[in-house]
């Protein structure tokens, strides 16, 4: 799902895309979904779009 969100940021600047993705996760994902996704990212970072990684980092901050 996060990958699909990132794919639909085509045409945005990197900052705009990261803002959109992090905003989406914050607005629509439950804490459990974010936590589980974080575990997946830690386990398989190469399988995750770099924009999504930035967005997650922003959420954690």
């Amino acid at each position: 799902m996060a990958g699909q969100i990132a794919a639909n940021c085509a045409g945005l600047t990197e900052e705009q895309a990261v803002t959109r993705i992090s905003g989406h996760l914050h607005s629509f994902w439950t804490p459990v979904m974010i936590a589980e996704f974080g575990e997946f990212v830690r386990a398989y970072p190469d399988d995750v779009d770099p924009l999504v990684l930035c967005a997650l980092a922003r959420l954690d901050a």
Binding site: I5, N8, A10, S27, M33
Partner: protein
Amino acid sequence: MTLLHEPDYGTPAALSLARVEVVVDGVPVTVPAGTSVMRAAAEAGFDVPKLCATDSLQPFGSCRLCVVEIDGKKGTPASCTTPCEPGMVVRTQTPRVTELRRNVMELYISDHPLDCLTCPANGDCELQDMAGVVGLREVRYGYDGANHLDAPTDDSNPYFSFDESKCIACSRCVRACDEIQGTFALTIVGRGFDSKVSPGGTSFMDSECVSCGACVQACPTATLEEKSVIDLGIPTRTVLTTCAYCGVGCSFKAELRGDELVRMVPAKDGGANEGHSCVKGRFAWGYATHPDRVLTPLIRDAITEPWREASWEEAIGHAATRIRDIQTRYGVDSVGGITSSRCTNEEVFVVQKMVRAAFGTNNVDTCARVCHSPTGYGLKQTFGASAGTQDFKSVESADVILVIGANPTDAHPVFASRMKRRLRDGARLIIVDPRRIDLVRSAHITADHHLQLQPGTNVAVVNALGHVIATEGLIDRDFVAQRCDLASFAAWEAFISLPENSPEAVEAVSGVPAEELRAAARLYAAGPNSAVYYGLGVTEHSQGSTMVMAMANIAMATGNIGRDGVGINPLRGQNNVQGSCDMGSFPHELPGYRHVSDDAVREQFEVLWGADLRGDPGMRIPNMLDAALTGQFRALFVQGEDIAQSDPNTQHVQRALEAMDLVIVQDLFLNETARYAHVFLPGTSFLEKDGTFTNAERRINRVRPVMAAKTGKQEWEIICDLSTALGYPMAYDSSSEIMDEVAALTPTFAGVSFALLDEVGSVQWPCNAEHPLGTPIMHVDGFVRGKGAFQITAFVPTDERSTRRYPLLLTTGRILSQYNVGAQTRRTANVAWHDEDLLDIHESDAEARGITDGGWVTIASRVGTTVMRAQISDRVPPGVVYTTFHFPGSGANVITTEYSDWATNCPEYKVTAVEITPTLRGPDALLASAEADAGALA
């Protein structure tokens, strides 16, 4: 005819601002220029006798009953077709016209059955009334001459009868079918004495008649009469209420004898429908008293056990105990609820309140998830409000109408009739749809452009329109400068002007010729008033939200927002899906579309509700189902929603429901979802409800109880009882109190109350101090968010592609006579028109596969397989197949996939790669075969 005689002024109101003064029977009266003499007389308090005239139709001048004398004019002109002139002196009651009217009536009665005392229209017949009004005392012609008394009766339509012997050939029915409905199914055949009404030389049932009832409503005699009136008699009382089918939200007069509903008649002053109806609302209400209705609570410990009846106290106590047990064991978020888009605002409000305050979670969602959730997202991002911008009446001022992914003649028929009137009056039409829907080419209407795109390429096509607008100097820069965020506009203009968005680049992927795209874009931009109307063909895609934003972009770019005749108009499918969203049936938003994390807003609710509320978003329906399969989500309350039939990937939904420990269903019937339920709480039909619905134009209408709740409880009372049993007391004295609470908490509803609605009929939100009578047109002086925000809408092709194994693309939709999953309409006589879902397939695709018209076919996707009958059709292009989803047996969602909109998870129902193969076995044979196989293995 109708029991509650609303004033009938004989001819439609004139709209001119200029005024004309005339004198009628000595009384001066001032009327708009263009007003007929008949209407001026009526407004002065003088009713001129009439039979062929009625104010819902243009004047016709055929019955000659309305003749008057006018000073300075020769003869006795028909008052219905004579416009008022300044200084005109009219006399409606002179010896000359009185004699003429009696003579006319003599002629009518000489060829009319004299069975008034046994006629079903006795006491409700305009012919009878006019005979009395004109003072008819004898018929000098006698009754032995040639006549039509032996003319046959056409009983083919399940809902109304056409008794030719009683017809006075006033042509009201023909004109109603033409002017109001726009189907043109009726005509007058023959000449002179042989003239008669005909539904195209065949029976009503075999004709193009869509059974909207407009002809029945218009008929002044018993010629066209509801069969329910013939059987039960004339109604004796009326209750004003609102239809519970589609998002048009027609106002109806429920006409009863005692507590027995006799007929539903569209209300003339209904804001959404103005006296018109469709076959569903007008006639298909019998499901409310169908024997399949469950009226008693049911419980069982396991879904493999039979149901047993229980008292309300036992069922609710059992449900509450189980919910708490599950939460104790698996956590507070292991439970959730789904609200109904068919129930009232008040009923939905209390369900989401129960979930938040009593369950203690934000795991609440609604069926908008699977239909118009992208509308809410997309319009909020661009305009700041999650709803359409116009009222239905706005289409009357449109010069160019762009219909995208919608089939209004089937799914929103009463609104479609309005649209067709405007199109017949000269508005231009652009249709974007893979199928040749009825609007492309119908009576007196031909689309200027039918952009017959490949499913899944919506965004590319609208981007191409935007590209033309941007690169050919068609942007309304004054509007953009005044009303829009300039930074976002600049970014969008640069993006949309890229070559990849050009019609020439888009042609290859969409299948729409570049010159067609350019012509359509130029037409839309030219307006001057251009309006977009769209449906689930926009939203039910992996880029549904992107598409909504793309449409909003071109509307802003061309200045088509903020006045009559323009706008972005989502044709919302269900009677209260708008209301369900407004009432906060979302895991991330409280009522009024405020995010749950907004501390200030949440505190208002906490104070009034006396409960701590969560500030983190809860689960959407797809999340709940996924979490059920991992064991994290264990209990679900489902109000008026059949997710086992309506949601995509049926097998996934079924597995998820099976995995849950507790499923509570509150509904009218034991539906597909109830197969997996442990508690069934019987609900009420719209005829028993007391509350409000909000339609697609944000119009809040009253729903009034026509009969007492057959279950003994209103649905909101059930929820209050359940909430109280859970330890969160909830109680109201009436549903009006619930709306008062909504108004107290929701700024856009602040002025709404039952008292206001009873006074003014309906209001469109926002309704508050700033707009005390509501807001027909939004974003007039500014967008809700301030400045309109353009959004970058890059086309990202769906992952669902046709392959060698699944070379065809399936898309789905609705048909006029059935409704959604068919729970209501399948239990009415509407099955006469559509008793099974069929698969539309192009002749070339059928021939290549050896498929015959009417033959059984297997439809296979990568997700599942189902069986239907094929229908060879040229409405679909080669490579595309189409079906409806009204019958559970057809299993349309067995084959739809898990793909969904990136922003809202709205399922991508409209693009599924499939292969179709002929099969000799129908679904029953397949089931029998499966059972036999299972038996052999036992």
